[in-house]
Symmetry: D2
Subunit: 90 residues, 4 copies
């Protein structure tokens, strides 16, 4: 995934934030917090992960399908996209 260094840093930061949310979730489960609180934390993690997924899928479309160097590269990247999207549209 060829992205600028600043993009890479931003992605790592977002992944780390989700790890932090999962740590909070572990703590809540460990402390036997309210089930509602556990579900809210998990829904937040899920939202953050979906947001990250959206951004990476969008970059893939722009950088690897639309701006592919060759028709074959575009076709390969298109097939990869279709495979990944298959896990969402259910």
């Amino acid at each position: 995934m060829k992205h600028s260094i600043s993009d890479k840093k931003k992605l790592i930061t977002r992944i780390n934030r989700i790890k932090g949310q999962l740590a909070a979730l572990s703590t809540a489960v460990e402390a036997e917090d309210d089930c509602y609180k556990v579900m809210q934390l998990l829904a937040s993690c899920r939202g953050a992960m979906n947001g990250l997924m959206t951004d990476i899928v969008n970059s893939h479309i722009k950088d690897h399908v639309v701006k592919a160097a060759t028709k074959q590269d575009a076709s390969d990247a298109g097939d990869e996209l279709i495979e990944i999207l298959g896990s969402f549209l259910k």
Copy 2:
């Protein structure tokens, strides 16, 4: 949407099948059927619609992004795809 006549017929057939599923849903609601049955019918409709969406999105990727005539067309079709996907990845 330039597709062959046979593709068009298949799409219309699938849309009509979903309309039929909605008619069955109306009948179930009208007859005050069990809530569970109503939910099952609705879940089937939703599954059929998601399947249709997946196929149309996949055709769009293959025919209008990957096989675009120009870089500008590919870029426009890519932007359209991103907008549509935005409604799923939530």
Copy 3:
């Protein structure tokens, strides 16, 4: 599904509206409209169907799980709910 007559009418109206959206989709496919327009119409249908599903699931929770006459009825309605939710959380 025991609901008041007014609820039933509202549900039928919403189902009919989705049927109308599907008819517009058929027309767009038949007329070989732009793929983007077809995807937008389909995304609208899907949104309307998800909204309907949410409302029916919520009624099920309130009327058939929470307000069940007996523990056994609550348990049965809970199992039905779990089965239906299984098709969404994927």
Copy 4:
């Protein structure tokens, strides 16, 4: 969230597994791996998180809505469930 110690341990184990998947994702982004590989890792994380969410929501339905001590507790747990489900059915 009152669960047995063994349930708690299982939940923590699953959360830790997702953290491990996120660590693999960070490594892939850091190493500038293929975008496809990054998307696959992210799709796996998302699947694991959805699976965890499903199980916690199902426990909530069984333990806190169906088996609530009082009608009021069932009603409160039902409202919490509805709020959480609102983030999925979109």
